[in-house]
């Protein structure tokens, strides 16, 4: 069902947790669908210095969350904003079709967190 990369990120998720002094937090998801993703950002000089996540959800939800944190770290806000859910899925060598819609929301959570950062810092 899942690619090796998905299973790798699922079983050894990177950057799990919260950032105490996060300056951007975003949460997306939906309880009936069974996926909630929360992203914590530490942005400095327009660059994402640290990202952490907490996710309630299936294998795809956890793996995409983990992957998006890896992809976001070190990027500028602008670069992070062009990251798409599809790019995350691709970086994981793809997701099962059924998972593309409901569990592939990690980039959305990242964008929410950036939005929150911008609101806080504008």
């Amino acid at each position: 069902m899942y690619t090796d990369k998905v299973m790798d990120h699922f079983s050894n998720p990177r950057n799990v947790g919260e950032i105490e002094d996060a300056n951007g937090v975003g949460e997306v998801g939906n309880a009936s669908c069974g996926d909630i993703m929360k992203i914590f950002l530490k942005v400095e000089d327009n660059i994402i210095k640290d990202v952490k996540f907490k996710t309630f959800g299936c294998g795809a939800a956890i793996a995409t969350s983990s992957m998006v944190t890896e992809m976001a770290i070190g990027r500028t806000i602008e670069e992070a904003l062009v990251l798409t859910n599809e790019a995350v899925a691709e970086a994981l060598d793809g997701l099962p079709p059924a998972k593309m819609h409901c569990s592939n929301l990690a980039a959305d959570a990242l964008h929410e967190a950036i939005k929150n950062y911008k609101e806080q810092n504008s």
Binding site: G34, T55, G57, C58, K99
Partner: protein, 402 residues
Amino acid sequence: MKKIYMDNNATTPVKQEVLEAMLPFFREQFGNPSSVHWAGRMVSGAVEKAREQVAELINCSPAEIVFVSCGSEGDNFAIKGTADALKEKGNHIITTSVEHPAVLETCEYLEKNGYDVTYLKVDRDGMLDLEELENAITDKTILLSVMWANNETGNIFPIEEIGKIAKKYKVRFHTDAVQAVGKIPVDVQATNVDLAVISGHKIGAPKGVGALYIRRGTRMTRFMHGGHQERNRRAGTHNVAGIVGLGVASELAKQNMEKDYASVRKLRDKLENGIRELVPEIKLNGHPNPDLRLPNTLNVSFAYIEGESLLLNFDMKGIAASSGSACTSGSLEPSHVMGAMCVDVVLAHSSTRFSLGADNTEEDVDFILQELPPIVQRLREMSPLYNRDSISCDECRVIRRV
């Protein structure tokens, strides 16, 4: 890696004796039992013997058994066959909100075609209110369809009492006995059942074969139209090997049920009590009285975590179980059974079913009890819902709705 299979309500391996009985019917005895020549004659006796074995298991006459291709076909046949045969008499069907999709989706299809269906509610323990059931019967009611035991929770319904109500109001009574058969006694005569469905692969027979009990004299429209097989009740060349397998599995089930399920019950209870002791914030789904559940089934929700990720973690340890999570159901919603029991949607997503079988051992249970708590803990720590300023799950749901 050790493999522990605790998903016997989903499917079971074919038993060794069953497979051995089936093998000759693939090649040496490959005939079509409808043929008059040696190749046909060699196998028609085997089909009739299997019919007796199945009849024996549920206490009916062999002539009342029709072989079908699976449990789902049995349910489709029972319900659509009744709806069509009795359409002059009425258009009302009563079933429950916790049936298998083979019953529910068949009823929903009939609703689009002029039938009215009452879906009886269940309480938080997953049980029916028999008074409500009785009150739902109208003079248009042609069928009552209540499963013998629920596949997700293992809840056993009071089929004997429902049979009495059906008899009192002269309403035909169908029961999906797929999960009950082989695990607890199923006697279609004692319970006044008119139609009952069995599926082979749940009792150590192969996938792709099942049986429908049709009480003598029950008027049915065919579901599978075509040839004259099964005394004109079901078309299609007999799946001889599968039918032979179902027969032997039925015989074994009858012989071994008491012994096997006494020990399965012990293991299930041990698992149930162990989880209660070792893992906080869990919810048992189904009736709290273990006597009112199938002896092999335990369904439990682990707050704050989602079922599929739990299953995948189990799987990494070789443990096979199943979940009511949307992600594993093929739909976008979590289990309709959990929904009908008013289980919180987050808890529904984490509902996890362990369905044991005679092959499970004490060591299997010990292993699960050792592996489960840290897995749950790890996933909870990853969950944004856990430790959320001590918000209860009900409040979580409200928050998330925003």
